[in-house]
């Protein structure tokens, strides 16, 4: 198996759609670590991240026919599969987890900043640190915890339009720090 071979994106996608084993190996060699870097800051636990990575590659294998290159690059498509699988995993775990079903302390707001976890030095989270507190919370809730803009508006007690503008401004800033 020659994993040093490189493909154009169009060729790679074509081979993946034919379920070509070498192409999948290439994909794993080149992108598993990048995707793992996306998954880990969301799920926070290595064991869980391993399960998610496995599911992500199986999903890529199963759903490659539905990848549409006119809507974006292959990596973006995989990134979103990885992010969604990570958020789903965190949610299904927190549903099973009785610890999390205990009531929060008295006088707690809908504000969830306090519950946010600590994995600050990885991937996009590292960049997140550079944002203002208020922006960081919104991106955290939207990108890392998968809440819709409507849910965030209700949780934070801010109008929907403001949530949307603040998140977009935050993302533009985030991008400037990405270099």
């Amino acid at each position: 198996m020659d994993t040093n071979q490189s493909y154009t994106e169009a060729d790679l996608v074509q081979l993946l759609k034919e379920r070509d084993n070498r192409a999948f190996n290439y994909l794993y060699e080149h992108y598993s670590a990048a995707l793992y870097g996306i998954i880990l800051p969301i799920v926070n636990e290595q064991e869980v991240a391993n399960d998610v990575l496995q599911e992500v590659f199986l999903n890529i294998w199963r759903k490659i026919d539905s990848y549409d290159p006119t809507k974006g690059r292959l990596f973006t498509w995989m990134l979103n599969i990885a992010r969604n699988a990570s958020i789903d995993m965190v949610r299904s775990k927190s549903f099973q987890n009785t610890r999390k079903n205990q009531p929060l302390q008295e006088n707690v707001n809908w504000n969830t900043t306090a519950q946010l976890r600590n994995m600050d030095n990885i991937g996009l989270r590292k960049v997140l640190e550079k944002l203002k507190d208020e922006q960081r919370t919104l991106v955290e809730l939207a990108y890392f915890r998968g809440y819709t803009h409507e849910e965030i508006a209700a949780m934070e007690g801010i109008p929907l339009g403001t949530v949307k503008t603040r998140i977009r401004t935050a993302l533009i800033q985030l991008r400037n720090y990405l270099e």
Binding site: F57, R73, N101, Q102, Q105, W110, E151, T169, L171, L178
Partner: protein, 273 residues
């Protein structure tokens, strides 16, 4: 908004990172198809994001690769076996039975015996059927009385529910499922005169044992307990607490008897007014 402003609005980043709403996504895809500048901007951000992800990659444990590829092999076998679903060939042909000749009286005797056995069998079968029908009839009469009683109780419940639905002073608030459970739905009926709150479950999963749904009124950004839902009442309109003012309603699953504050991760439906 011109194309330049559209590109600078943050929609590119929002779309690529998967944070855009369905409508925004559809609009963005239309804009991409219509304006090459939008496509170029999207492509540039995607490449930047990909480069960042590659630079910030974390190597997964080595054993994962073989584990994942053996799962893929299993999937591949499954795929192939459904594709070549061949037919099973059957080469078996029965041997011809030996032919024996019988005299005429032997035929008659055999026929008489067969007839007798069949007749006895039929009698036993019919007697059994008769007894079964008799038993079923008794059971059915008792069941009928019970059912009638139960139906009457249900009818009264439904009539009460209908009164709430008919009331012209009710504010009707449809709470849609949040992304945790998009199929969920429930409706709050809020009496504008008395401020009494009623809850109707359109669709919620049955709560796990020891768990109960709790209705929250959102008052000035804070959740206020609006009562527990007794699951037995969930097929009609359930009476909840009186809420004088609120900007929204939400339902979470809590431990039996309720919690002082909601568990945000177990929210099912919500509606802001």
């Amino acid at each position: 908004m011109n194309v330049k402003e559209y590109i600078a609005s943050g929609i590119v980043e929002s779309y690529v990172l998967g944070l855009a709403s369905k409508e925004e996504m559809a609009e963005f895809e239309r804009m991409c198809a219509a304006h090459s500048e939008v496509r170029v901007a999207r492509d540039a951000f995607e490449k930047q994001l990909e480069a960042h992800a590659l630079n910030n990659s974390i190597k997964p444990p080595a054993h994962l690769q073989s584990q994942i590829f053996s799962e893929i092999d299993i999937e591949l076998d499954k795929l192939r076996s459904t594709q070549n679903n061949g037919t099973v060939t059957d080469d078996y042909t029965p041997e011809p039975a030996p032919v024996v000749t019988l005299r005429w009286w032997k035929y008659s005797a055999v026929a008489a015996i067969i007839f007798l056995l069949a007749s006895v069998g039929l009698n036993i079968y019919l007697a059994g059927q008769y007894n079964k029908v008799k038993r079923d009839y008794t059971v059915a009469t008792t069941n009928f009385a019970d059912t009638k009683q139960a139906m009457q109780t249900r009818l009264t419940d439904y009539e009460n529910s209908l009164q709430v639905l008919k009331d012209t002073n009710m504010a009707v608030i449809k709470m849609k499922g949040v992304s945790n459970s998009p199929e969920s739905m429930a409706t709050v009926y809020w009496d504008t005169r008395t401020k009494d709150v009623y809850l109707f479950v359109n669709n919620l999963p049955e709560p796990a044992s020891g768990k109960q749904y709790q209705l929250w009124a959102i008052v000035d950004g804070k959740p206020v307990d609006a009562g527990m839902l007794n699951w037995n009442d969930a097929d009609g309109v359930a009476v909840m607490k009186n809420i004088p003012a609120a900007q929204g309603f939400a339902i979470t699953m809590e431990k039996m008897g309720g919690s002082p504050t909601p568990d945000m991760d177990a929210m099912y439906v919500m509606k802001m007014l």
